[in-house]
Symmetry: none
Subunit: 230 residues, 4 copies
């Protein structure tokens, strides 16, 4: 089986190329690409409401602005690559945890909650996907993300189906998609300026300003309750 997740790179293991050195062979190029992704990610995390500027990314990576365009066609492509990677990550963890955990719904909820904590760029980027990223990226890169997503979902669906044979493969897949949709939507609804958040709480409307992770778990539990019926 081709591994979906070949792209995963532990940053700490990453050998870095000296700045302003020419990346000749494929390995060096990949390294440089990774380094750009790391820089972009780092800057994005500093202010997850905006994509950082190309200049900032280049500077952060110790390279020139033009160099970035040797590795990516547009700025958005960089972040779509990061997002793709993050999708890979979450799918991979879901699969792993599914197999080891007895309580499926709880496992899913816990995995998602932990993952979004450990990867605070995931949901902000996922939220921008439709609105910002895909709009400025070649279709085949969008397809790449979708394909990865599809394959991940397929694998997880199979695992699920093995444990809950009464649930069809496509029901499993749909459940996963719904889960991702729910997480994405909850995160966006939960996102707001700090002033608004405190105003909401002050006005007894904390329903709209809840702890994201709490809500996440509850929501997933609700969505996955069908499993307990099977």
């Amino acid at each position: 089986m081709i591994c979906l997740f070949q792209n995963l790179q532990e940053p700490e293991r990453l050998k870095t190329l000296p700045d302003r050195t020419r990346a000749i062979d494929e390995a060096d190029k990949a390294l440089r690409r990774q380094s750009l992704l790391q820089s972009a990610l780092r800057l994005f995390l500093e202010q997850p409401t905006n994509l950082p500027s190309v200049q900032a990314i280049a500077t952060e990576a110790g390279l020139a602005k033009g160099t970035i365009y040797l590795y990516f066609d547009t700025k958005e492509e960089i972040f779509l690559a990061i997002l793709t990677h993050l999708y890979d990550g979450i799918l991979s963890e879901l699969l792993t945890n599914l197999e080891s955990e007895p309580q499926v719904a709880q496992s899913v909820a816990a995995t998602l909650s932990a993952y979004t904590r450990r990867h605070p760029a995931f949901l902000p980027l996922a939220s921008m996907n439709t609105t910002i990223l895909e709009r400025n990226v070649k279709p085949d890169l969008v397809m790449q993300l979708k394909t990865r997503l599809y394959e991940g979902i397929a694998l997880i669906s199979q695992a699920l189906n093995k444990r809950y044979p009464t649930l069809s493969l496509s029901e499993c897949a749909q459940l996963l998609i719904n889960t991702q949709a729910l997480v994405l939507g909850l995160w966006q609804m939960h996102q707001m300026p700090e002033t608004v958040r405190s105003a909401l709480i002050a006005s007894n409307m904390s329903l709209l300003a809840p702890d994201f992770h709490e809500t996440l778990k509850a929501g997933i539990t609700c969505l996955w309750q069908s499993l307990s019926n099977h």
Copy 2:
């Protein structure tokens, strides 16, 4: 009962002010404001991926650019107003239909499906809310949207709670929030360039390019299945 939704204006009933006429009294001003909202909406629907430019909105409304700033502080404010209005609309319909329909989950799904069809700006705008709109709008307008949302949810929760007394008010509210999150997320996942859509179908991954309204109904049914347990 105080009606939340007094703001709803059927565009077709709207008397329009002749162009370049002065809106002196409050009624005329409201009319002009509505007309700007209509123009903005119309242009947005032509290309729901970008907010139209202020100049375009003004021209569409037969007014000068500066006039817009007599009615709105920023461009985003216009679209937040539209979105607020659309949230009012959906909440109102949910409430109405809930009371008349026997099958609650189906009613909710059908209402949402129909509403998003009739108001194709709803989900695109809702998707931009966090990322684009709220970022350039005074906090109290964000609060206004949230408050309306809260009050709508409160009313619907009460109606739900009346029919399913085993479900607590806050469980009902949370269910509604989850529903909105799910719809939002599904719409975003379902959103893609036409080329991508056909590529997905060609590659046997139509799972990721489904009919939105189908998926919506299935998703809501899944989320609301708890009701059948009560």
Copy 3:
């Protein structure tokens, strides 16, 4: 003798017209005009680097924006009127003090120093005269200012000439003009952001950041030393 300075109005004696009342007769109109001038001046003093907006002036005066244009053709006209008034004031004081004081140069210096202190709008406005005000005002209003200036200078020159008969009338006049030029120039050279001022002092260049009033006195003394020769 026709008084040059009929325009001088002690603000405290000013009867004010109730807001939004129609000014029918000439006296009422003059009152309203004065009130607009006062409002404009008050706002300008709050931020003497920019002319306040017409809207701000109207609001401050309790009137509508359009009303201002019943009294002045352009915004700059308002400030040219204020400046004219302030020129009247300084000329009048110079004349008065000249007659009572024995030491002419010192009298002039002291008068100017005191006047600019009491009327902090004088030099800022005078500095804007060429660059901003006269550019957007009908020539005959500029002429009015010049005429007043001329007549004031003429009167003072006569007084000077009486005391120093060896100085021709036109030499006296020129001396006055040079004095005004010097004051204006010194004020502009002395004007700077606070940060720059402290940087200058820190760099041992306090020559360029002196006390304005000190410099003023020294400068005038220097310019007027010819008198002691006569």
Copy 4:
């Protein structure tokens, strides 16, 4: 002696970079910067009442608007640079002429008169310095101008002091500052629309519409008469 005025560039000697060519090394960059300054200056001289627009400057220089911002942070910075340069120029000439001319006051007057004729942008820009330029420029650029001014004044003061040992260094410096103030003020008082000028002459008030250069000489002579006493 380190020359303060190394920046002086005779425009006619300036090698120009071909349009749309890249300025790679520092020399070319300096050339391009000079060319932008020249263009800005040229346009300003066409209408010395307003700073030309950035677009106009770019077009005049055969470059794109954005390019300007590679060389200057704001539009005002361009003109502050020109003004700094012009201050360098006048200080340099004053110093040179002082050393060669026997009659100091006359030398100063003649130098200033000639310089302002040859550099018609000098006084208009100097007049805008406080009101317009320094307001939109980083403090350290203002400081640069001040520093240059200070150093120029220091050098000239030394030269003066050598010839008139009874005048202290700081008296010399102050005399120079007063001179600059006087020139600036006279220029502003002398500045007026052509219509006003002819009206003044027609009304026998030519005192207020004199030949600037005449007045300048007379004024400086008056200010510098102290020297003859020493």
